[in-house]
């Protein structure tokens, strides 16, 4: 009985922690961009101000039921994924869920967004979401290859075990030391999953007027801002768990997660955007090649 209660409590607590960490991740992304462009950047609580303001709008323009449900799916997919991601002190249902469930859950938000945007009937939105799904098609293949390689190396799809093995053996047993090729492929894949600059094909503000977000105002955009917090958190924590030994305590855990994100963002704000076909070609060539080579080394 106590165990059930603890799991329920953790399943509630983990998304809340993820949201708070995610807010600071959004802040870090914007601050880093500002520093790279020699600006001051937003104040400390800016991501929170934005979200509260968007939910506080007095006229909310809905385009129908599916529009509402799509946003709930987009946020809900990540909220469910948080309970499967172990953090220091809380495992949630990570041991029961495993990596494969997690891989499925990280695809739900894109599909939810596609549903929601579909009902807006705005051509920019449709172009944006078709690009987002193409991008998903591009990065999911190296993503699955990387997950498969890691699972093969540790002979487990259980994230709790994977982290425990890495923490027991020290730095030389970390995924990044054992499988450097897969780690590089993973970093490129993670960059594409975040949709940051060279791979920012579906947001494209100047070209298709922010794509999927074109008809989103008020609480719908607020929902997407919340989703962005979860997205940054989820993607960087998956990388930290697979390759950087998870977190021994909260300090090292947050340092690693923010560090990984900082690498991606620093690269992102130095580059312009690829075309959609370039993205697919690049993702199916380099990370896939590196990943397959990495798997060959892991399997021998």
């Amino acid at each position: 009985m106590n165990d059930t209660l603890a799991i329920i409590l953790e399943a509630i607590l983990m998304p809340i922690v993820a949201f708070i960490v995610g807010l600071f991740m959004v802040l870090m992304v914007r601050k880093l961009a500002a520093k790279l462009q020699r600006r001051v950047g937003p104040p400390l609580l800016q991501p929170l101000y934005d979200i509260i303001k968007l939910y506080g709008k007095q006229t909310q323009i809905s385009h129908g039921l599916i529009h509402d449900i799509g946003i709930i799916m987009a946020v809900g997919g990540y909220v469910a994924a948080e309970a499967l991601l172990p953090v220091p002190g809380m495992d949630g249902i990570a041991a029961q869920g495993g990596l494969i469930t997690l891989a499925y859950l990280t695809m739900v938000p894109s599909l939810g967004l596609a549903l929601g945007v579909g009902q807006c009937a705005n051509p920019n939105g449709s172009i944006g979401i078709s690009r987002a799904l193409t991008a998903m098609l591009a990065y999911d293949i190296p993503y699955i290859i990387v997950i498969f390689g890691v699972a093969w190396h540790f002979s487990s799809t259980n994230l709790v075990e994977i982290i425990a093995v890495q923490q027991a053996g020290g730095i030389e047993t970390w995924g990044i030391a054992q499988m450097p090729l897969l780690a590089i492929a993973g970093l490129i894949t993670m960059h594409a999953m975040l949709g940051k600059q060279p791979f920012e094909i579906y947001v494209a503000p100047a070209e298709i007027a922010t794509g999927p977000m074109v008809e989103m105002g008020g609480k719908y955009l607020g929902g997407l801002f919340v989703m962005q917090c979860f997205q940054l958190y989820t993607v960087s924590v998956i990388y930290v768990s697979l390759f950087l030994g998870g977190g021994e305590n909260w300090i090292t855990f947050l340092l690693k997660a923010f560090g990984v994100l900082a690498i991606v963002v620093s690269i992102a704000y130095l580059f312009p955007r690829y075309r959609t076909d370039d993205l697919v070609r690049l993702m199916w060539k380099w990370p896939v090649m590196l990943g397959l080579l990495g798997i060959a080394f892991v399997m021998n």
Binding site: R30, A34, Q37, R38, R39, V40, G41, P42, P43, Q46, L48, Y49, D50, I52, K53, G56, K57, Q58, T59, Q60, I61, S62, H63, G64, L65, D68, A121, P205, A206, A209, T210, M213, V214, E215, M216, G217, G218, L221
Partner: protein, 231 residues
């Protein structure tokens, strides 16, 4: 399909009936609204040239929580920089009506105040606030980025203290604004947004919402039809 869209109702209660705790909450929301403003700039004239320095590294608007957005649905501020020709004004009104409330209009340059150097032009709308409720004018030909940021800071202060509610005037005095619009565009003028319906839904009807001009609108109004899907 159209009927389904109409069935979704979002409840909003008038502010007076709320309890003290909700009023504290309103204060917080107003503070956040003042510190986070998404800006849609409709750059029609020369004033636009002063906005890039205001947004980029020299003056950096993002430190005040102001950032550019690209669609009216996401935006809070409609920034109109420069003269508004009659053709442009139609687009400005369409854009304004698509924004979610609370929304604010800022007129930059003297052309939006009184027509400026285009006073004698036959194709220019002289005073912007005859067609849209304007929250803030930033005069000058053109105002420097410092002036733009000072104006935006003043708007922030107005939002925080609850004084910036010109958007309610558009619902409450719709007949006046529609009359001026019909004077320019002719009596067949209609927009896709049902302003009267919105005013009823959000309880923003005033004594001047309906009048002779809205009667003309209701006579000539064509129902909007969904575009045919083609592949």
């Amino acid at each position: 399909m159209v009927n389904q869209l109409k069935n979704i109702e979002i409840e909003t209660r008038p502010a007076e009936s709320r309890n003290p705790f909700a009023r504290v909450f309103d204060e917080i929301v107003r503070f956040c609204q003042s510190r986070s403003m998404f800006m849609l700039h409709y750059c029609t004239g020369c004033g636009a040239i002063e906005l890039p320095p205001a947004m980029t590294s020299r003056f950096d608007m993002e430190r005040l929580g102001i950032q550019p957005m690209v669609t009216p649905r996401q935006a809070d501020i409609l920034l109109i920089t420069g003269y508004v020709s009659i053709k442009t004004l139609k687009r400005v009104i369409l854009t304004y009506e698509q924004m979610g409330s609370p929304k604010y209009v800022i007129g930059i340059c003297s052309c939006t105040v009184n027509g400026g150097m285009y006073w004698q032009s036959y194709a220019t709308a002289k005073k912007l606030d005859e067609y849209l409720p304007v929250d803030m004018y930033i005069a000058g030909c053109m105002p420097r980025p410092e002036a733009v940021i000072t104006g935006l800071r003043e708007l922030m202060e107005n939002i925080r203290t609850g004084k910036a509610d010109a958007w309610k005037q558009y619902y409450k005095n719709y007949d006046y604004y529609l009359g001026n619009q019909q004077h320019l565009f002719g009596n067949n003028w209609q927009t896709p947004t049902d302003v009267i319906g919105e005013a009823e839904h959000y309880r923003l009807m005033g004594p001047n919402t309906l009048g002779e001009h809205t009667r003309i609108l209701q006579q000539v109004q064509q129902p909007l039809e969904a575009m045919e899907m083609k592949i």
